[in-house]
Symmetry: C2
Subunit: 116 residues, 2 copies
C-alpha cells in the first residue's frame, strides 16, 4: 500500500483549542446536554403518568434505554470529535451559531461544514 | 454409563392436569401475575414522579428491565413447570394455599414440597 493511500486524520481532529475556546465549548456542550436530559425527563414522567397497561411500562423502559444509549454515544466531549458533535447539534437545531460565539473561525467553519 | 445413572425427569413434570385443575391453575397464575404487574406499575409511577436528576431516570430504566426480565423468566405457564412456579410463588407469599383449592392432592403436595 502506498503512503498516499494511507489513512489521513481529518483536519478538524487536530485543531488547537485555546483556554477561552474551551470555556465556550464546554458551555455550549453542557447547555445542549442539559436540554436533552430535561426533555427525556419530561417525556418519561408523562409516559409514566399515562401508563395503564404493562406494555406502556415496557415502552417507557425502551424509550429510556434508547435515550441513554443515544446520549452516551453523541455527547462525547473529546476535542478531537467536538467539531463533529457540534456539527450534529447545529444541524438538529439543538445549538445555534450564537452558541459558538467566541470560537475561532477555524472551528466555526468546520462545525458548519460538518453540520451540512 | 449405566441406565440407573441416566437423567430421570422429576415426577412433578409429568403430572396430569384435569380441565377443572387447569382452570384453578390459570386463575391462580393470572392473579399472581396481575398483582406483580400492578406493583411494578405503582412503583414505576412513583419513581418517575420523584425523579429529579438523570440518574433517577436510569435507575427507573434499570428497575423496569429487571422486572420485565424477572417476570418473563418466572411466569411460565407450561404444566410441566407449573408446580415449581407455584412453589416459588407460595414461598414468597404471592399466592396462598387457598389459591390452590381445587387442585388434586398430588399437585398440592408437590407445590408445598417445591416451596420449602
Amino acid at each position: 500500500m502506498s503512503s498516499s493511500n494511507a489513512y489521513r486524520e481529518p483536519e478538524w481532529r487536530s485543531l488547537e483549542w485555546s483556554p477561552d475556546e474551551k470555556k465556550v465549548a464546554r458551555k455550549a456542550f453542557d447547555a445542549a446536554l442539559q436540554d436533552e436530559l430535561a426533555l427525556v425527563m419530561r417525556k418519561a414522567k408523562a409516559m409514566a403518568e399515562k401508563a395503564r397497561k404493562p406494555s406502556d411500562l415496557w415502552n417507557l423502559e425502551n424509550y429510556l434505554t434508547k435515550c441513554r444509549t443515544e446520549i452516551d454515544r453523541r455527547y462525547d466531549y473529546r476535542y478531537s470529535v467536538l467539531p463533529e458533535v457540534f456539527g450534529g447539534l447545529l444541524r438538529e437545531r439543538k445549538l445555534t451559531q450564537a452558541d459558538f460565539s467566541g470560537l475561532g473561525e477555524d472551528k466555526i467553519e468546520w462545525i458548519r461544514r460538518l453540520a451540512s
